[in-house]
Amino acid sequence: MKLTLKIWRQKNANTKGELKTYPIDGIEGDMSFLEMLDVLNEELINKGDEPVVFDHDCREGICGSCSLQINGEPHGPDRLVTTCQLHMRMFNDGDTIVIEPFRAKAFPVIKDLVVDRTSFERIQQAGGYISVNTSGNTIDANAIPVNKQDADDSFNAATCIGCGACVAACKNASAMLFTSAKVSQFALLPQGKVEATERVLNMVAQMDKEGFGNCTNTGACEIECPKGISLENIARMNREYLNASIKG
């Protein structure tokens, strides 16, 4: 198929960016979206132009590196996939596709389609862990039974890949879904309850400090999340936060 791509080009954080138009031909439905960009880049290099830079790594939907706002949607029009698992069969011959970086104050553009997501790192560093040493000198793994439903819910929250689609989807650029997924994972497990109070207070404080917006319950994050992280996690984090604030 033949497509027209409108791609955000920006040399670095300090220069202004703009959308540039690139026609492309010979795209097959079995190609992934990033393989389509590989084809474009090969053409650009052969012509002596600079290829488009974008984050990507595992290309199987799990590392969370790839991003891209495609026709206004994080990770494009398909549901429950990352951009690397989005296939060109979702598009039609003659389509125009607008490709931009994830937009948020807390995700500044580094170059072209690459953004800086270290704000997510700092939220995790503020409390996204259980304070236990890695000596292996702990109790036997089966010493504390965990209710299967809680274990499954905790796992579902833990499948967040930290891509930032929730932030890019939100009109407030809120990081509530991301933060609440980690808070929930631990809040649901007995071993995570010990420092639950401090964890939620510290992580929320860091989230606010990074300049992410507030949550107004539009639910856009849940719809765009490639891993289907549920809004329930935000509700759970709000409960945890309220409890912690009263205790704290």
Binding site: N12, G64, Q85, F155, Q191
Partner: protein, 667 residues
């Protein structure tokens, strides 16, 4: 040629590690504060090592090329992690895990290392649960297990099809705790481009900041390389796009021996190649072989009809199907080790029984599992006379619970619903058992340079069993290295900070800069990918699942010629001092173009078949791998001399005192 000393402690197998831990020197807590350690790579092996060393009190600097440690490719491991917990009461023990691993590796791994791995495996599970890793559980709240290839017990712990992700996030959380305490300084979006050796000891690295393009000097008292494997030398593999051998290859060029480069794992269950545009291959977890049955049509006409779209899998009755693994290997069936399953798939496809458009695929069928689980579920819910539809519906739910994300991934890529028609799969490059040679302490032949995880060669011999890579990565990082590196660092308590304004750092930095500038200014005709794809073709066709002396010799010549062409004609756009993805790729491919030649050389010298290394000249009448224990029961460790073709072979003889060496049989 020299004989390498593996430094395996004396004494009975089961006591070696305990005795060694008691014998090593310790560093007192106050002195640890004055010692710096660099960790390159933040996957399971690097992340766990960094967190543990920081907890102990060392100052740790971590380096990864991704924008976060959480994105290292350990995250993509799907099926599970082995541990000899014997929770199922099916007769598992440390010895059995040791035995299975040595046998699975086709008697080409080190007894002492493998036993230690088995010994610490149970601890890993305890540790991860304490960290909040949400493993799969049964209704009673206890941990669940599944079975993997090459073993007769259920010892694999898992978190759906995302076990690697959950374990890596566990290690990442342990790292975050130390970053928050200021004990780890993370250098993300940084790539190590050389090792700095001062007075014969590893004392630092040269790294490039991938955002600004600036070259940086970092010093430390010891350097840990945990940068993963080199599967991307094949261009197409299940590795991440950025997975590379640069850190490992650079230390090799600085004096670390490279062991068994030809031992590569071609994983049997991957989504087949669909076209020339393909950039990577996707694995379908080995855990699927717990429930999926592998088959091709019995008759060639049927295979052809399926390829041409005239027939579908479900049109073939049971007796028109050849469940070739169950036929050839009745006792292990679909759960034979990976190398055996891959070769069997290739054999059927080469003989003309392959099933997708290209004829390079076999079926992985869940219909009987869906039926079995459906009946079981119906009975559990008191329905003793269920209809076919009810059975299918209930059975699909069980399969979805176990493998939902894998089925979804398959459907997105292939555009076919695997609940309805069987998956089509084919082998793909997945893991490299070879790597930097290390002794029992995980130290390379360069003092102070340690290598952990897939980047070293130590534990899997010529073939790795499923769910053992995660086990090794975490064992090395959480439980082995923190002890052994202390012994080395105990001699550095009075050294003080290592300065970076020395001639050794100057020399290394200049060398790196020169290489980068050459690439940027080369202005050739072809992109980096052009060369990488060509290299991949040579590797797959001549150093792939079946190898022979003629092809291997010509692979060496072709790779050498391609390398020369690369340096003459590669085109790298952009500038040095900016984010430049093409330049990053060029540096990595330059190293693959050297490593590939050594790979072929190693495969050519090993005149036997063992594990993942299959030489057509050496096979039994039934087509099974034929080892030559008399002449090749050794680790081949190569010393760099300036040219991959001229590397010098050093041998480490392998001794088996606790296990009877016999020919591997899964029949």
């Amino acid at each position: 040629m020299s004989i390498l000393d593996s430094k395996i402690p004396e004494g009975p197998l089961a006591d070696k590690w305990t005795k060694h831990k008691n014998d090593v020197n310790l560093v007192n807590p106050a002195n640890k504060r004055n010692i710096d350690v660099i960790v390159v790579g933040t996957g399971l092996a690097g992340g766990s090592a960094a967190a543990t060393l920081a907890e102990l009190g060392y100052n740790v600097k971590t380096f990864c090329y991704q924008d976060s440690p959480r994105r290292a490719h350990s995250i993509a491991a799907q099926g599970g992690i082995n541990a000899a917990k014997n929770y199922q009461g099916d007769g598992d023990s440390n010895y059995r895990l040791f035995y299975d691993t040595v046998k699975g590796g086709d008697y080409r791994s080190r007894e002492g290392n493998v036993y230690r791995l088995a010994e610490v495996s149970a601890n890993i599970i305890d540790q991860c649960v304490a960290q909040g890793v949400p493993f799969a559980r049964e209704y009673g709240g206890m941990l669940d297990n599944r079975s993997f290839g090459g073993v007769l017990v259920s010892r694999t712990f898992y978190a759906k099809g995302q076990t690697g992700q959950q374990l890596l996030l566990g290690a990442y959380s342990a790292m975050n705790r130390q970053i928050n305490r200021g004990k780890i300084t993370p250098f993300n979006r940084h790539e190590m481009l050389d090792l700095v050796i001062v007075d014969g000891k590893a004392r630092g690295i040269i790294a490039r900041d991938l955002v600004s393009g600036k070259i940086e000097r970092h010093s430390a008292h010891a350097v840990v390389i945990a940068s993963g494997g080199y599967g991307n030398v094949f261009f197409l593999s299940t590795n991440a796009m950025g997975s590379n051998a640069t850190a490992a290859w650079k230390i090799h060029k600085r004096g670390a021996y490279f062991a068994n480069p030809c031992y590569t794992q071609i994983h049997p269950t991957c989504i087949p190649v669909s076209g020339d545009h393909q950039s990577k291959l996707t694995l379908m977890s080995e855990s699927l072989r717990n429930d999926g049955r592998i088959w091709v049509p019995k008759k060639k006409e049927d295979a052809i009809a399926i390829r041409e779209g005239k027939k579908k899998a479900k049109d073939l009755s049971e007796d028109e199907r050849d469940y070739y693994l169950e036929r050839r290997y009745p006792s292990f069936g679909n759960l034979v080790p990976r190398d055996v399953a891959s070769r069997a798939a290739k054999e059927r496809c080469d003989a003309g029984f392959g099933v997708n458009k290209t004829g390079q695929a076999v079926f992985l069928d869940f219909a009987s599992a869906i039926e079995r689980y459906g009946k079981e579920q119906a009975a559990m819910h008191g329905n003793h006379n269920p209809s076919k539809e009810e059975i299918t519906k209930l059975g699909k739910q069980v399969i979805e619970n176990k493998y939902g994300n894998l089925f979804q991934m398959y459907e997105k890529i292939v555009d076919e619903n695997p609940y309805e028609s069987p998956m089509m799969i084919y082998p793909a490059v997945h893991y490299t058992m070879g790597g930097i040679w290390v002794d029992y302490n995980l130290q390379s032949t360069i003092p102070g340079c340690y290598v952990t995880g897939e980047a070293n060669f130590s534990d899997h011999g010529a073939n790795r069993l499923g769910a053992s890579a995660l086990m090794q990565g975490l064992a090395d990082g959480y439980f082995v290295l923190p002890y052994t590196i202390g012994d080395y660092l105990s001699k550095d308590i009075k050294t003080g900070p290592i300065p970076t304004d020395t001639k050794e750092f100057d020399e290394a930095e200049n060398k790196v800069l020169q290489q980068l500038e050459t690439l940027i200014n080369n202005n050739g005709k072809h992109s980096v990918d052009y060369f990488h794809k060509k290299l991949g073709h040579i590797m797959w066709n001549k150093c792939g699942m079946a190898r022979n002396a003629t092809d291997l010799a010509s692979a060496m010549t072709e790779i050498r010629a391609l390398r020369e062409e690369f340096w003459k004609d590669v085109k790298v756009p952009g500038e040095l001092n900016e984010m430049n993805a093409e330049l990053e790729k060029a540096m990595r491919v330059a190293d693959f173009l050297e490593l590939g030649e050594l790979f072929a050389k190693d495969a050519l010298h090993r005149n036997e078949s063992c594990g993942g290394h299959f030489r057509e000249e050496y096979q039994t009448e039934e087509g099974e791998a034929l080892r030559d224990d008399e002449n090749f029961m050794y680790v081949a460790a190569w010393e760099y001399t300036g040219d991959p073709a001229q590397e010098i072979l050093h041998k480490e003889e392998l001794k088996y005192e606790n296990i009877e060496v016999k020919s591997r049989s899964y029949k």
